[in-house]
């Protein structure tokens, strides 16, 4: 009895460290399978838990996917306005060409497009109601225009760029839609805040849901825990199956989240395409790629383990054989 009372855990007959390690890893391997099959014994209940976790996991991810698409596709292609730089010199002049070079070389500038006086005239005449007006001129009264797409997306940064360009030789005036930019950054700010709040809420929810489910499971297993402790199971021995259970709950939840995300994208792809067409852009909602899917599964499993660890630790200590 003396030697069996020295260690803690699974050591009644193992004096040998290797034997003990083998028993430990056997227990882990066995639990990996047995906890899943225990859960599968109640398929309805398991599916419900997975669904709840899946919903909670999928929503912040869907939202962040949407935000990614918006900031990548829309702002670049559509929402982000070009500045119009009105020239005070003819667009064929050397000053204008030099300005064009400078702008093209600038790191703050994305795209540069020259609209010559002739092109401007044609564009202007096609505007409704002004066709006749210009016919009255013998000479083209319009200046050349350089359209500049800034790299910067922040309103203040773009204003600064506009001022710099306005100071250059050959520039008459720079115009851009400042109000629209302000609005855009306000909208993005709100979206970011919402997303941040949702992320916190949902990660919390997943941990809470898993923890809560496991807490109730533990209360259900009170008898098992008491008897195991009565026969000398250490705390970590008793805790182990619950950790694996948490793993499976989180992992399965992530699997369902994966399905929810992919089918939501399918469900949304129709109206999103219509929107994209109206922008004459061909972007579409992209599904999760391989790495992201793996990340999702890892996240689910991690949250599951975390949730079970927290709740088991709190409750296992309380349960003592009577």
């Amino acid at each position: 009895m003396n030697e069996s009372a020295t260690g803690s855990g699974a050591n009644i007959r193992q004096i040998n460290r290797a034997d003990r390690l083998r028993a430990w890893s056997r227990h882990h391997r066995q639990l990996f399978r047995s906890t899943l099959s225990t859960l599968l014994n109640q398929p309805g209940a398991l599916l419900i838990t997975w669904l709840v976790i899946g919903i909670a996991l999928s929503l912040p991810i869907l939202l962040s996917l949407a935000l990614r698409e918006i900031s990548e596709a829309d702002t670049r292609q559509v929402i982000q306005p070009a500045m119009s730089v009105y020239l005070s010199v003819p667009s064929e002049s050397e000053t204008a060409q030099a300005l064009l070079q400078t702008l093209r070389a600038s790191s703050a500038v994305g795209e540069v497009r020259l609209i010559t006086e002739q092109a401007a005239l044609m564009e202007f005449s096609s505007l409704a109601g002004f066709g006749d007006v210009l016919n009255a001129f013998s000479e083209n009264p319009l200046p050349g225009i350089i359209e500049v797409v800034p790299r910067e997306r922040d309103g203040a940064g773009i204003k600064l760029l506009a001022q710099q360009i306005a100071g250059q030789d050959g520039v008459d005036q720079v115009s851009f839609d400042a109000a629209w930019l302000e609005r855009l950054s306000a909208i993005l700010g709100i979206l970011e805040r919402v997303l941040y709040a949702l992320g916190v809420l949902f990660s919390g929810a997943v941990i809470l849901i898993i923890g809560n489910t496991l807490r109730l499971t533990i209360e259900n297993q009170r008898g098992e825990i008491e008897i195991t402790k009565l026969f000398g199971g250490s705390d970590s021995f008793v805790q182990r199956p619950f950790i694996y259970r948490g793993f499976w709950l989180g992992f399965g939840g992530a699997l369902l989240a994966f399905l929810i995300i992919q089918s939501s994208l399918l469900y949304l792809s129709d109206p999103v395409e219509r929107l994209a067409q109206s922008y004459r852009s061909n972007f579409a909602l992209e599904a999760l790629n391989f790495g992201e899917s793996i990340g999702l599964f890892a996240l689910g499993a991690l949250l599951g383990i975390l949730g079970s660890w927290v709740s088991v630790w709190r409750y296992l200590k309380q349960i003592q054989p009577k």
Partner: protein, 218 residues
């Protein structure tokens, strides 16, 4: 092997279930614990495997002072003690096999060895071939025997049994008791709380009598 040294136990509600209990038991001894309902028999047994702690006095098991044992050493202590507890039934969501195998799984024994031992223990209590059954489908006496098999399957150096034959008929009770007696002859220290005075008197064993928390003069 087992020493109670002026042990008292007062429960949180103020009730003193044991008062100044002193006795000792040698390794391999076979001891009956008797006394009326509420005398403190279960309380005494629970103090040996650390389920309850003494309020005053010391309990020594195999040279260790249980009253001072840190919590992390309790599992090791319990692995060396087989128990049949009054209220502790089986796990109803596991088959008879898994119920009996529990102490061996905790000890980390190899699956092949576990199977051999479980079958041996079940046959000792007259339940050969029932390892695949669910506890629910067993009669009260059969369940109690599964509990006894679980207590002895890992051949612990000490065995505590609280009313192990309450649900058994007289013939079976006698068989189970003689099984316990065999264990003690192999060196296992056995302590049994029971009401079955007839059986106690028919066995060649020492008897500790409790009355309202005190040991009666023998």
């Amino acid at each position: 092997m087992l020493v109670f040294d002026h042990v008292s136990k007062r429960y949180p509600n103020g009730y003193e279930a044991l008062s100044d209990v002193s006795f000792s038991v040698e390794a391999g001894e076979f001891v009956f614990l008797t006394g009326p309902s509420g005398a403190g028999k279960s309380t005494l047994l629970k103090m040996i495997n650390g389920v309850e702690r003494s309020s005053r006095g010391q309990v020594h098991v195999a040279g260790q002072n249980i009253s001072r044992l840190p919590a992390r050493k309790i599992p090791g202590l319990r692995q060396g003690i087989g128990v049949v507890f009054q209220n502790h039934q089986l796990l109803f969501d596991r088959r008879v096999y898994d119920n009996v195998a529990l102490p061996l799984v905790i000890a980390g024994m190899k699956p092949t060895e576990v199977g051999r031992r479980v079958r041996a223990a079940l046959s000792k209590v007259g339940l050969t071939g029932r390892e695949g059954d669910w506890p629910e489908t067993l009669s009260g006496g059969e369940q109690q025997r599964v509990g006894i098999a679980r207590a002895v399957v890992h051949r612990p150096p000490m065995l505590l049994a609280d009313e192990p034959t309450g649900n058994l008929d007289p013939d079976l009770s006698r068989e189970i008791m003689s099984l316990f007696l065999q264990f003690s002859q192999l060196g296992v220290t056995v302590l049994i709380a029971t009401h079955d005075l007839e059986l106690v008197e028919s066995m060649p064993a020492r008897r500790l009598q409790l009355q309202a928390g005190r040991i009666q003069s023998p």
